[in-house]
């Protein structure tokens, strides 16, 4: 490991984090705008042209807002929790290859389109997000509020449960691609996107992914109408913004992984656009689906949600895995 590599990685990380934070900010605006359009209204349009400065105003306001803290909190954990959440969210993006298959030639350097091309691939994401559960849980615990605690319990139980289904729904992809390395998976989709043979797995992934990020219709942890604001009820100002950030960045990551694993990452059908644009387009489409679901569906009840995870998604993922394995082995045997 040379210094050059370290510096390169650090620069890439800085760029990615910057992009993610901007992406987060505009994702909130995107959500508000898209939902507004579905509800026949314009959405934010006063702050800057077409409301484009709205996220800036929100951020500015939150940054300069004083923090009120709940009495009886566990001070250290209360401060630590949002940091864990946001760090976990940011770190998961390390494995996402934005484009490929070659490298970016810049000033004579060959730079990969990713921060890390780990051969454990998606497992990195699972590892990091499973750590992110602590952020949410500790937020609920440290706030010394019943609503927070209930939200945190629900949220962490939900995340742990759905991580299983989420992981297993990706196994068919690994079987087809023969690798867990992200770059390999995308390259294996050069001719056919995996969504075509693995459509059920895609839907399983999508459902589990939405549940994993605590988004509607599985947004129970912060089910406003039941639990006020769930685990971050007692957070205000910038710390609250960090949770918000973590949630939206997680959305971006789940969409990115879906784009890479099922939708052929940077490969476009006609080769019109350069790779990164295809990738971005797919991510945006998936994010649109996220917002669309939020605009439409009622929230599920907590016990049904757990039942769905354990009794439907998990067996279906396993079945999907078996079927894929059998088919692949049969095809290899036949050939």
């Amino acid at each position: 490991m040379t210094t050059e590599v370290v510096v390169e990685t650090l620069i890439k990380a800085a760029i990615v984090i910057g992009a993610l934070l901007t992406g987060f900010a505009y994702l909130t605006l995107f959500e508000r705008k898209v939902q507004a359009r579905m509800q026949q209204r314009p959405g934010p349009n006063r702050v800057g042209p077409w409301g484009l400065l709205q996220p800036a105003a929100d951020g500015l306001k939150l940054f300069f807002k004083s923090s009120s803290m709940p009495a009886g909190r566990d001070h250290f954990l209360y401060l630590l929790a949002p940091l864990i959440s946001v760090c976990a969210a940011l770190a998961s993006f390390a494995i996402i290859p934005i484009s490929g298959p070659g490298t970016l030639n810049l000033f004579g350097y060959h730079i990969g389109w990713y921060i890390m091309n780990a051969n454990i691939g998606v497992l990195w994401y699972f590892a990091v997000t499973s750590f992110g559960v602590y952020g949410i849980f500790l937020a609920g615990y440290a706030s010394n509020s019943k609503y927070s605690m209930l939200g945190a319990l629900r949220s962490s139980a939900q995340m742990i449960s759905y991580e299983m289904a989420l992981g297993l729904s990706l196994v068919p992809v690994f079987i087809l691609a023969g690798s867990t390395r992200m770059v390999d998976i995308v390259n294996a989709q050069h001719t056919w996107w995996f969504i075509l043979p693995l459509l059920p797995a895609f839907f399983l992934y999508l459902v589990a992914g939405i549940a994993e990020t605590n988004r509607a219709p599985f947004d129970l942890p912060e089910a406003e109408t039941e639990l006020v604001a769930g685990y971050h009820t007692e957070y205000s100002g910038m710390r609250f913004a960090l949770f918000f950030m973590a949630e939206y960045i997680n959305m971006i990551i789940v969409s990115s992984i879906a784009a890479i694993v099922f939708l052929g990452g940077w490969w476009g059908p006609f080769g019109i656009l350069p790779g990164p644009w295809w990738f971005l387009l797919k991510v945006v489409v998936l994010l649109y689906v996220y917002v669309w679901l939020r605009a439409t569906l009622p929230r599920m009840r907590y016990d049904r949600l757990m039942a769905l995870g354990w009794k439907s998604l998990l067996p279906l993922s396993l079945a999907m895995m078996m079927v894929t394995a059998v088919v692949v082995v049969a095809a290899q045997g036949g050939a």
Partner: protein, 178 residues
């Protein structure tokens, strides 16, 4: 159970600023520019507390509805948790039983925070000149904008929000057209 404690509150105009990070800074050219930027941010992203009392709450919901769409001003994010809210819209009559609760919600909101007394009942007890209603909410919390009407139309609430934005930015409330 709850005791009604009517606390003296400062007048709306002379309200002391809360402990915000900015108070630490002195007053020079840089900070006044910074002040402007921050006030712009605060004025453009007023998140109200999700907190409705009576009739006016219905019109408050109507203001969020598609016909009037409060979201145009960046204010549609009604936060259920007072800790994440900037603006308290006292929408309706405040019963004496409710007064301590209202005050507690106000106390839970972090600075800087603003209050709109929406409608006749919240601003002055309106028609309920009787034993059960707090005679004007400014006895409990400092009010920044009073909004008459029973209930005020959504447009009137938007007007109040616009005036509040102007107040936050430090401009005169009413721009004379003539």
């Amino acid at each position: 159970m709850e005791e009604l404690k009517l606390r003296p509150v400062p007048t709306p105009t002379g309200r002391a600023a809360g402990p915000t990070p900015l108070n630490a800074l002195g007053n020079n050219v840089l900070t006044t520019t910074l002040d402007k930027v921050i006030n712009w941010g605060r004025a453009s992203a007023i998140w109200p507390a999700l907190f409705g009392l009576a009739c006016c709450a219905i019109e408050m919901m109507g203001t969020v509805g598609p016909r009037h769409d409060l979201s145009r001003f960046g204010s549609e994010l009604f936060r259920a948790s007072p800790r994440q809210a900037d603006l308290m819209i006292v929408s309706g009559r405040v019963a004496i039983k409710m007064a301590p609760v209202l005050r507690q919600i106000y106390d839970q909101m972090p600075e800087p925070k603003w209050v709109i007394a929406m409608g006749a009942c919240a601003s002055s007890a309106g028609m309920f000149n009787n034993y059960a209603i707090v005679q004007s909410v400014d006895k409990i919390v400092p009010v920044d904008i009073y909004l008459p009407g029973c209930p005020p139309r959504p447009e009137a609430l938007i007007d109040a929000v616009v005036k509040l934005q102007r107040k936050i930015r430090g401009e005169p409330l009413v721009k004379r057209t003539a």
